[in-house]
């Protein structure tokens, strides 16, 4: 469905106002699915669940309704660690160290495929 629903009366156009619902929400889990044998689990999305058991059951119902997977991992979202985005500058620039790539070396045609 979609959605260019215009701002109507009573709707706050600025939806950043945070509200405290006073409830304890279920924690979030990241879901990884192995599509078939022989390939890795791949991140497919996230969901909320009270514990790992229900997280797995929910993941099966939400992300594999049409045989999308043969195995599921769920990981608490708060256990996923990453660099700060600004640290991305420290990643190796592929163009900077071309000598690391196989394509940087010229092999004469007579040698054949290498």
């Amino acid at each position: 469905m979609t959605y260019d629903v215009p701002v109507g009366p009573g709707e706050s156009a600025d939806l950043q106002e945070h509200i405290d619902t006073g409830r304890e929400a279920w924690p979030m889990w990241e879901v990884f699915v192995r599509a078939r044998r022989g390939i890795s689990h791949v991140h497919i999305g996230s969901l909320h669940a009270a514990d790992s058991e229900t997280a797995l059951q929910n993941a099966r119902d939400v992300y594999t309704r049409r045989g999308e997977g043969v195995s599921i991992w769920v990981v608490p979202s708060e256990e996923v660690h990453a660099f700060e985005p600004d640290d991305a500058a420290d990643y190796v620039d592929a163009n900077e160290k071309v000598y690391r790539h196989a394509t940087a070396y010229e092999i004469p045609d007579e040698v054949g495929h290498m």
Binding site: P6, G45, D61
Partner: protein
């Protein structure tokens, strides 16, 4: 380069913006609003169709309808997850919907009066949704675009099952065909309204296009939908309720009549036939499920204490 320039450069290069990237506050707010609205639409959209599950004409159609309604729940969940990457809680979004501060697509404020409405929703409402969502698979925000790819695959089932169900009705008795025609008469104009107000009145379109959240304007999407749908109605042998509808050779598109925008605004303002009931049902389901959510938390706490011991 300022963060803003860097952001726009990523967008211009048709790269995706990801949750931890810097983004303009307006971009974040627009996306939260749009994705939440989209998620709520999927969830509220379960009601008009759920209305016919117990009365589906055959076990086969009942199984299809249950699978479809379950898909809508799944779509809502993918979308809530995408919205959450922007820093809004699922619980908050529920609360805002129940308080009427978040909207959902007005199409779901119309009632499903006959079985033919179910096929027609699949054909027209999901058809309109696909038109919009295919565009959104190219949206600049990564989590939203990825969610759309999954959703579009499943929407294709929704549209095809609906159209096939209408083929059966239209090849059936006179009464069945009349039922299909009646459903088309009631759903045609609200379906065209799904694309939002005309470009001349749409306040969001221009900025959303610059940010590549939206890639095609409301009117262009509406035209695309009409062009696609007219021949499909022709195959069914039922008539689109628009006397002004005709092929325009010069434009290479169908011309069609003016949407009743007064009706559209009335429904947006909460005066559609089903607005109140939809939100009441949703709120009641949420409140009646509170004990389940609390019990699951209590059980999880007890188990983790046991594991720790």
């Amino acid at each position: 380069m300022t963060p803003e320039e860097k952001f726009q450069a990523i967008v211009e290069a048709e790269d995706k913006i990801e949750p931890t990237d810097w983004m303009p506050e307006g971009y974040r707010k627009t996306l939260i609003r749009q994705i939440a609205q989209h998620a709520h639409s999927e969830i509220i959209g379960m009601q008009p169709e759920g209305n016919w599950i117990t009365r589906a004409p055959t076990l086969h159609r009942k199984a299809i309808l249950m699978a479809k309604v379950q898909d809508e729940a799944g779509h809502g969940l993918y979308l809530y997850s995408a919205a959450e990457t922007l820093g809004v809680d699922r619980d908050e979004m529920q609360e805002l919907l129940h308080q009427g501060k978040h909207k959902y697509s007005s199409i779901f404020n119309y009632p499903t009066l006959t079985w033919a409405d179910i096929g027609t929703i699949g054909w027209l409402v999901d058809g309109a949704a696909i038109t919009n969502q295919v565009m959104l698979t190219r949206c600049s925000y990564g989590p939203y675009a990825r969610g759309m790819v999954r959703i579009c695959k499943e929407e294709s089932f929704h549209q095809r099952q609906g159209y096939e169900s209408l083929i059966r009705l239209c090849q059936g008795s006179e009464e069945q065909k009349a039922m299909a025609q009646d459903a088309l008469n009631r759903w045609w104009w609200p379906s065209l309204m799904m694309f939002g107000p005309p470009d001349s009145d749409s306040t969001h379109t221009e900025r959303s296009m610059q940010w590549k959240i939206k890639r095609v304007s409301n009117d262009d999407l509406r035209q695309q939908f009409v062009d696609m749908t007219v021949p499909q109605a022709g195959y069914l042998g039922i008539t689109i309720p628009d006397p002004e509808l005709k092929w325009n050779e010069e434009r290479g598109h169908y011309d069609f009549g003016e949407v009743d925008w007064d009706e559209f605004w009335q429904v947006v303002k909460g005066n559609g036939p089903m607005n109140r009931e939809r939100v009441e049902n949703k709120t009641r389901a949420w409140e009646e499920g509170a004990w389940v959510r609390e019990a699951a938390n209590a059980y999880a706490a007890k188990q983790s204490k046991k594991d720790a011991a």
